[in-house]
């Protein structure tokens, strides 16, 4: 594992700030303050906030790919892997209650800004969608694997949005339980998704 560069530190600080306070609301100097570097050094690495956003999305894509690979390797059965996805809601509940889902809120913000990096950010959703679709196919639901993937993605997005609005951890746990039950029914080919 290589040592982190100043550039890495900038991108990681920006990643956290964009998540916690939004892209538009985060300034160059907010990021520089966290990394504690001079304005000159900062500009040496990034000329604009758009450039930083691009690097943040690249970092998130790489981290997401790594996480999905880990779930793939750790989960023996496709249902185990899909449960890994469902359980992010519990694992990250602290952040989700405060700031919502990092993917959903970034994509929503960039949509409103009409930002050119929007298609790149949406690739984060596509990574999850494609991965979930493959798991549902392996689960024996080839015919509706994509619909099931989108359905589960939507449910987890909705839970994140409402958990953030109501600061409600019990709600997260209740919905996670229901998603697990729904997955079980999917695995048993218990008919159409409901």
């Amino acid at each position: 594992m290589r040592e982190k560069t100043t550039r890495d530190h900038i991108v990681e600080a920006a990643d956290r700030l964009f998540y916690r306070q939004g892209y538009e609301h985060t300034s160059f100097s907010d990021i520089a303050d966290v990394v504690q570097i001079s304005r000159g050094n900062f500009y040496y690495h990034f000329k604009s906030k758009d450039e930083i956003l691009h690097a943040v999305i690249d970092l998130r894509l790489a981290n997401t790919r790594e996480m999905l690979e880990r779930w793939e390797n750790e989960g023996k059965e496709p249902a185990d892997r899909i449960r890994s996805f469902i359980h992010i809601l519990v694992g990250n509940r602290g952040d989700i209650k405060r700031y919502g889902c990092p993917v959903g809120t970034l994509c929503a913000e960039l949509a409103k800004l009409g930002h050119p990096s929007r298609p790149e950010a949406n690739k984060l959703f596509t990574l999850f969608r494609t991965w979930l679709r493959r798991q549902f196919t392996l689960l024996g639901r080839e015919a509706d694997a994509d619909a099931l993937a989108m359905h589960l993605l939507a449910r987890s997005q909705g839970v994140a949005t409402l958990a953030s609005a109501f600061h409600d951890e019990k709600f997260i746990r209740q919905e996670v339980k229901e998603m697990r039950d729904w997955l079980k029914a999917c695995a048993e080919n218990a008919g159409p998704i409901t």
Copy 2:
């Protein structure tokens, strides 16, 4: 119906702009440009963007109450009324594909900004939650009416987020069909929500 005042025009323009381009990204002059009034006249009505936000949330709360009352009066059975809620996703699909849900995206943005108007904005969700809970109670699901209300709210939020990311109308229609089926199963007391 009273004639619209300059203040009304400002608040309505701000409402649209906050929805379409986000609160943080919308400036005083963006709003003044739409309403076509002088800076002096503008400041006569509102001293800060926070004040406008407050008025926008009040407007949205009033509009939502009115809509819920209309659904209440128009829908003979509670299931009809809940279907009115589900169908906003179809009725507003054009805007939702572009900008997501106005409630969900505003609450998410204010959460990140740590904005003092956040509790007010969250009341928009509470209006829907309370209204849906009452409908589910009338449907004979008193014991889990609140969980059902939150579940349906979450599903519609998730659909809005993904429909916006993927610009996918077919997905909206598919999910709306599934929510209708789910509602039917709820009405038949077909067991726990899945």
